[in-house]
Amino acid sequence: MSHSRLVEGLDSRGFSLIEVMVAAVIAVIAVVGLAFTFSSGRGLIDRYATARDALEAAERRLEVLAMKARKDPADPDLAAGSHGPFALTLNRNPTGAEFWNVAWVDDPVDDAGGDAEPGDYKRVRVTVFWSQAGILDSMTLSRNYLGP
């Protein structure tokens, strides 16, 4: 008795072709969405490969300027103002470039009684920028150097 009730309760019509096609379309859309997330993740890894090289390029410029500041604080590369941009290749990406700005900074510690020379040290800001997949990206590092 219970068996026959179960059989009567089942929907013997099944799925129609339209229902199956709609389900298939939804499944395909979901799979394409998932595939897009994977390719986005891959793109992010590539982006950070370039960003790591950009970070090292900025570090490189700061190290070079640090030694130039020690050798000759009046080096033209350390003159106040903007320097560049200069082209860079970052992790085989030829769209990179770097520029740096040098600005005098007044340290308030010697301001008491009037500061005849407010330029106490130089702040160098190195910016590296590049384009990847049509998106402009950049990175900036700064460091202070003693002035002449």
Partner: protein
């Protein structure tokens, strides 16, 4: 007729799902191994930087047979060797040698190019090319410079 269409559609969707799974696994492997290679490359660069900053001078010597890779030797102010970073043709890894003892490879990623030059006037060590290859074949390139802060500019 309907059952045939349903079977065909189910087959297409199944094939798509299998293809997607294989493709995503491949992409996942490529991406993760590349991320590991990038991490190892950055780790190697920063490790060299940490040792170079306390050195006074440096010397680079090419590694035979092609001289495309180098050994970087760091010295203190008394001209005593402090650290050495040697690209090994045996395992294509950069080994750290301290006190004459090989401390082993820095990282596990294959280093295809370790091209280093020294600017004795500033003084500065230029890592012109560090190119590493992930296990899935992806290549990552990094370049940097390291100041010899205990050196004397000339």
């Amino acid at each position: 007729m309907e059952i045939v269409i349903v079977v065909v559609l189910a087959g297409i969707v199944t094939l798509g799902l299998v293809g997607f799974y294989l493709q995503s696994q491949s992409m996942w492997m490529d991406a993760s191994t590349q991320a590991l290679a990038q991490r190892d490359a950055t780790g190697l660069v920063e490790f060299i930087r940490s040792r170079t900053s306390s050195a006074a001078s440096a010397l680079v010597t090419p590694v035979p047979p092609d001289s495309l890779n180098f050994v970087l030797t760091l010295y203190d102010a008394s001209d005593n060797e402090t650290n050495r970073f040697a690209w090994s043709a045996t395992d294509s890894l950069v080994h750290h040698v301290e006190g004459g003892v090989d401390k082993g490879a820095v990282g596990t990623v294959i280093v295809e190019r370790f091209y280093v030059t020294v600017d004795p006037l500033l003084p500065l060590v230029n890592l012109d090319t560090l190119r590493v290859r992930s296990t899935s074949g992806e290549r990552v390139k990094i370049a940097s410079s390291f100041a010899l802060y205990n050196g004397t500019p000339q």
